[in-house]
C-alpha cells in the first residue's frame, strides 16, 4: 500500500535522512587504502547511534552489518568484513539506512579509493547524473514510469547496463514500502505520484550488461560479467513543487 506522509512525519523523515546522509560522509572521510569494510561499517554504526537513531539495515532480513559496502563489481548488499581491505583504484558503494523516531532514511553513494581510472570516474558520474534525471521527473502528477525511463534513457545512452532485478522503493515507517521504483519503465505508466509520498530512487548502473549474480553469502550481488558497477541513492519526498532530497546533506 502506498503511504502518504503528513508534514510532521516528513519533518521526522528529514531528520532521519540527515543522519543517514551524514553517516555516509563519515564513511567517505574514512575511505583510504588499507581500511577494511568492517571498519567503515563500525564508524557508520557509531555515528548513527550517537545521533540517537538506529541503523535500519542491522538485522534487516538477517543482514549482519549496519551498512551495505560493495566494492568494484559488487553492485549492492556487500557484507562488511574485516578481511575485505580497500585497495588503491577501487570504487566503493556505501548504502546506509537510519531509523529515527520510527521513520527511515535510505541513501547510497559511490566513492573512489585514491586515484581511480577514467572509466570508473565516468561510470560514477553517469550514475549520479542518471539519478538527477530521474528525480527531475519525481513531481506530483507524474508517474513512476517517468522516473524509470529518464534514468534508463540517460544511462543506456552511454552503453551502460541498468540493473533490473533490484529496484528503488517507497520509504517510511518501513524500509521497503510500495510503490517499487524501477530504474526502467514506460513514460506515463505506473503509480501516479502524490505530494507526501517518499521514495528511494536508486540507479544501479553497470559498465557491462544488466545481468547480475548473487553470491553464496546470500546477500552480495555482483555483475554477471565482472564489470564495474556504481550506485547512487537518495530518499526523495514528492511535493507540490520540486522534489526534496531528504538524505542530501547541505
Amino acid at each position: 500500500m502506498v503511504s502518504v506522509k503528513n508534514s510532521e512525519q516528513l519533518a521526522i523523515m528529514r531528520k532521519a535522512g540527515q543522519i543517514t546522509g551524514e553517516a555516509i560522509l563519515v564513511a567517505r572521510d574514512a575511505i583510504r587504502e588499507g581500511v577494511s569494510t568492517k571498519e567503515l561499517d563500525t564508524r557508520i554504526r557509531e555515528y548513527i547511534e550517537k545521533c540517537g537513531a538506529k541503523p535500519t539495515f542491522l538485522g534487516y532480513g538477517g543482514f549482519p552489518g549496519s551498512a551495505c559496502i560493495s566494492i568494484n563489481d559488487e553492485i549492492i548488499h556487500g557484507i562488511p568484513r574485516k578481511d575485505r581491505i580497500l585497495q588503491e583504484g577501487d570504487i566503493v558503494k556505501i548504502d546506509v539506512g537510519a531509523c529515527y523516531h520510527g521513520f527511515n532514511g535510505d541513501s547510497a553513494n559511490t566513492f573512489g579509493v585514491g586515484r581511480i581510472s577514467d572509466e570508473a570516474a565516468r561510470l560514477i558520474e553517469v550514475t549520479r547524473e542518471s539519478f538527477f534525471r530521474g528525480v527531475s521527473e519525481a513531481k506530483a502528477g507524474n508517474r513512476i514510469g517517468d522516473i524509470g525511463s529518464a534514468v534508463f534513457e540517460y544511462a543506456t545512452s552511454f552503453g551502460y547496463g541498468v540493473v533490473r532485478k533490484y529496484v528503488g522503493h517507497g520509504v517510511g515507517a518501513e524500509l521497503h514500502e510500495d510503490p517499487e521504483v524501477p530504474n526502467f519503465g514506460t513514460r506515463g505508466r505506473g503509480q501516479r505520484l502524490f505530494p507526501g509520498m517518499t521514495s528511494a530512487i536508486e540507479p544501479m548502473i553497470n559498465a557491462g550488461t544488466f545481468n547480475v549474480k548473487e553470491l553464496s553469502d546470500g546477500w552480495t550481488v555482483k555483475t554477471a560479467d565482472g564489470s564495474l558497477s556504481a550506485h547512487y541513492e537518495h530518499t526523495v519526498a514528492i511535493t507540490d513543487g520540486e522534489p526534496v532530497l531528504l538524505t542530501k546533506v547541505e
Binding site: F63, G148, K165, V167, H169, H176, T186, R189, T209, N211
Partner: protein, 94 residues
C-alpha cells in the same frame, strides 16, 4: 538497500528443469523467493516456488498486471497472453 523487483515482472528461469523458460512472477513468498506461473504447466492456482537467484528478470512489472495479480483477477489465459506478447523479449540476454 534496494528492494527485489517483484510481482508482475517477467523472468527467465536460469536453473532447474525449467531453465530458459519465461515466467510471470505472480507472488512473493519472501524477499528471496517468488511464485512463478506460465499458464500452461505452472498454473496461477498452483504456481512454482522459485528462488530469485534462479531467475533473471527481463521486464518491468506492468502496473495493470500487478494490480490484477494483487486483486486476484489473473487467469491462466491472461498469463499466457502476457508471455506471448513478450515472446522473444531479450532472448539474446539470457
Amino acid at each position: 538497500m534496494a528492494k527485489t523487483n517483484g510481482i508482475g515482472a517477467l523472468a527467465y528461469s536460469t536453473a532447474g528443469r525449467d531453465q530458459g523458460r519465461l515466467f510471470l512472477i505472480v507472488g512473493m513468498v519472501d524477499d528471496r523467493t517468488a511464485l512463478i506461473a506460465d499458464g500452461r504447466l505452472r498454473k496461477v492456482g498452483t504456481p512454482k516456488k522459485k528462488k530469485l537467484k534462479h531467475l533473471t528478470i527481463v521486464s518491468e512489472s506492468s502496473e495493470d498486471c500487478r494490480q490484477r495479480l494483487l486483486a486476484g483477477q489473473v487467469t491462466d489465459a491472461y498469463v499466457r497472453r502476457t508471455l506471448e506478447q513478450s515472446d522473444g523479449l531479450s532472448d539474446d540476454l539470457i
